[in-house]
C-alpha cells in the first residue's frame, strides 16, 4: 500500500514540486515566449483580413485562445479540490488557491476582448444573445465566490476544504449553466467549423495562428500558475530547512 502510493505522495511534496519546477521553468518560459511571439506576430501582420470582419479577425485569435484557457479553470480546481478532500495533499490546495484569482483574470480578459470584438461585429459592447459570453459572465461570478469564500474563512485548513468542495459543485454548475444558457438562446452563433482550404473564412491561415496562440496561452497559464504556487510554497513552508537555506542564499 505504502509503496504503491509513494510516487503519488512524492508528487504532492511541496519541496519536490519546487525543485522540479526550478528545472522545468526555463524550458516552459522559453517555449511559451516563442509560441506567443510567433502567434502575436502572425496574427497582427500575416493574417489576411476577413472578408466580413476586416482586421478585427486579429482580435479573435487572442480572444479564442484566452477563452479556451478560461474554460479549463473549473475542471482544474475541481480535480485539485478532489485531491485536497480525499488525500489531503497540501500541494493541490496551493495550486487551487492560486488558480481561482488567475481564472478570474482569464475570464475577465475573455469578457473584455469578446465585447471589444463584439462592438464591431454586433455593433454593441454587450449582447445577451451571445450565450457563450453570458455563461462566461456567470463563471466569473462563481470564481469571485470561490475567492471571497477563501478570504472569509480564517482557518487555512477549513478554507482549503470548503473551497475544494465549492469548486467541485461549481464545476458541475458551470456545465449546467453553459447548456441552459445556450438552450435559452438558440439564436446564438454556433462555433464555426474549421476548414482546410486556404482562403476560406475559417481556413488554415486563421486556425493555425489560433492553434499556436492557444498552446502559447495554455503554457502561459501553466507558467503563471507554477510561479504563484512556488510563492505559496515559500510562504507556507517557511519553517522548513530547505526554504530557509534558499532564503539565505538569495540576494
Amino acid at each position: 500500500m505504502a509503496g504503491r502510493w509513494q510516487w503519488f505522495h512524492r508528487l504532492g511534496s511541496p519541496k519536490w514540486f519546487y525543485e522540479k519546477t526550478t528545472r522545468w521553468l526555463p524550458w516552459l518560459i522559453g517555449v511559451m515566449a516563442l509560441l506567443l511571439a510567433v502567434g502575436i506576430v502572425w496574427a497582427l501582420l500575416f493574417l489576411p483580413p476577413d472578408y466580413q470582419q476586416g482586421h478585427t479577425s486579429r482580435i479573435l485569435v487572442v480572444h479564442v485562445a484566452v477563452a479556451g484557457a478560461s474554460l479549463s479553470f473549473f475542471p482544474l480546481m475541481a480535480v485539485a479540490g478532489t485531491v485536497t478532500l480525499v488525500w489531503r495533499i497540501k500541494l493541490a490546495d496551493m495550486v487551487a488557491k492560486n488558480a481561482a484569482p488567475l481564472g478570474a483574470w482569464f475570464t475577465f480578459l475573455t469578457l473584455a476582448t469578446g465585447s471589444i470584438w463584439g462592438s464591431v461585429s454586433w455593433g454593441t459592447w454587450w449582447e445577451w444573445t451571445d450565450s457563450r459570453l453570458v455563461s462566461m459572465l456567470f463563471q466569473f461570478f462563481l470564481l469571485l465566490g470561490v475567492i471571497s469564500l477563501r478570504t472569509a474563512i480564517e482557518s487555512a485548513e477549513t478554507a482549503a476544504r470548503a473551497c475544494a468542495l465549492l469548486s467541485i459543485v461549481g464545476c458541475i454548475n458551470v456545465v449546467i449553466i453553459k447548456y441552459s444558457v445556450a438552450w435559452w438562446n438558440t439564436l446564438h452563433q454556433p462555433p464555426s467549423p474549421i476548414s482546410m482550404e486556404v482562403g476560406s473564412p475559417n481556413g488554415p491561415e486563421f486556425w493555425v495562428a489560433t492553434a499556436i496562440m492557444i498552446v502559447g496561452v495554455y503554457l502561459f497559464l501553466a507558467v503563471s500558475l507554477i510561479l504563484a504556487t512556488r510563492n505559496e510554497i515559500l510562504e507556507r513552508e517557511n519553517k522548513a530547512q530547505w526554504v530557509r537555506e534558499l532564503a539565505l542564499r538569495s540576494r
Partner: protein, 227 residues
C-alpha cells in the same frame, strides 16, 4: 442508548425545525413581505401599463422569488449553529444526508411555500394572462426547492461567518440561473400557446438531481466547516 429508526429521526428533525420556525415568526415573515414589496416595485419602476407588465410578469415573479429565497437563506442553520445543535447533528448516528434533507424540506415549507401560494395574486396584479397561472405555480413548485437546496450548500460553507451575505449571493445566484431560465421559459411557452411540459420536465430533472446530490454536498460542507 436506544437506536431510533432512520424514518423517526427524519420526522423528528422535520418536526423540530417546523416548531422552531413557528416560534421565530420573523424569519418566515420577512422574506414573504420582502417578496411582495419587491414585486410592487417593478410596475412603479418600469411601467404601469398592463401590456408591458404582462410580458414581464413571469420574470418579475421568478426574480422576486429568487431574491426572497436569498433573504430567507440567512436564517437557515443559523440558530442551530448558535445553540450548538448543528454539531449534535454531525455526531448523530443517523445518516447526515437525511437530517440535512429534512432541514431543507422544513425550510422550504416555511419560506418557499408561502411565497408560492401568494404568487398567483401578485401575477394577477402584474396582469399575467390566465394561461400562465398554472404553469407559473408548477414551475415555482419544482424550481424553488432546487434553489433552496443549492443555497443550503452555500449556507453550510459559510456557517459561522460574520459577514457572509455577499458570498451567499455570489455563489447562489449563478447556480440558480438554469432554474430561472427554465422557469420563465415554461411560463412564456404556455403564454405563446405551446406546451410547458418539456420545460417543467427539465425542472423536474433538476429537482431530482438536486435531491440526490445537494444534501450530500451540504453534509460534506457542514463536516468541513464545523470540524
Amino acid at each position: 442508548m436506544i437506536r431510533a429508526s432512520v424514518g423517526a429521526a427524519f420526522r423528528a428533525t422535520l418536526k423540530r425545525d417546523l416548531l422552531i420556525s413557528v416560534k421565530r415568526r420573523n424569519d418566515i415573515l420577512n422574506p414573504f413581505m420582502f417578496f411582495i414589496i419587491v414585486v410592487t416595485l417593478f410596475p412603479i419602476g418600469i411601467s404601469p401599463e398592463s401590456a408591458m407588465l404582462r410580458q414581464l410578469a413571469a420574470g418579475v415573479v421568478w426574480i422576486s422569488v429568487l431574491l426572497a429565497s436569498m433573504l430567507a437563506m440567512d436564517s437557515l442553520y443559523r440558530s442551530d449553529y448558535e445553540d450548538g445543535s448543528l454539531e449534535q447533528l454531525l455526531l448523530s448516528s443517523q445518516p447526515l444526508y437525511l437530517l440535512v434533507f429534512a432541514k431543507n424540506i422544513a425550510h422550504w415549507l416555511v419560506s418557499g411555500l408561502p411565497v408560492i401560494l401568494v404568487s398567483p395574486l401578485l401575477a394577477y396584479m402584474l396582469s399575467l394572462p390566465a394561461d400562465g397561472y398554472l404553469t407559473l405555480v408548477a414551475s415555482l413548485l419544482l424550481g424553488t426547492p432546487v434553489v433552496g437546496m443549492l443555497g443550503s450548500i452555500a449556507v453550510a460553507l459559510t456557517v459561522g461567518l460574520g459577514s457572509r451575505g455577499l458570498i451567499l449571493a455570489v455563489i447562489t445566484v449563478p447556480m440558480s440561473v438554469p432554474v430561472l431560465i427554465f422557469g420563465t421559459l415554461a411560463v412564456q411557452n404556455s403564454l405563446a400557446g405551446g406546451s410547458p411540459l418539456g420545460y417543467l420536465a427539465l425542472l423536474g430533472a433538476m429537482l431530482a438531481a438536486a435531491v440526490s446530490l445537494a444534501p450530500v454536498a451540504t453534509a460534506a460542507a457542514l463536516r468541513i466547516t464545523l470540524n
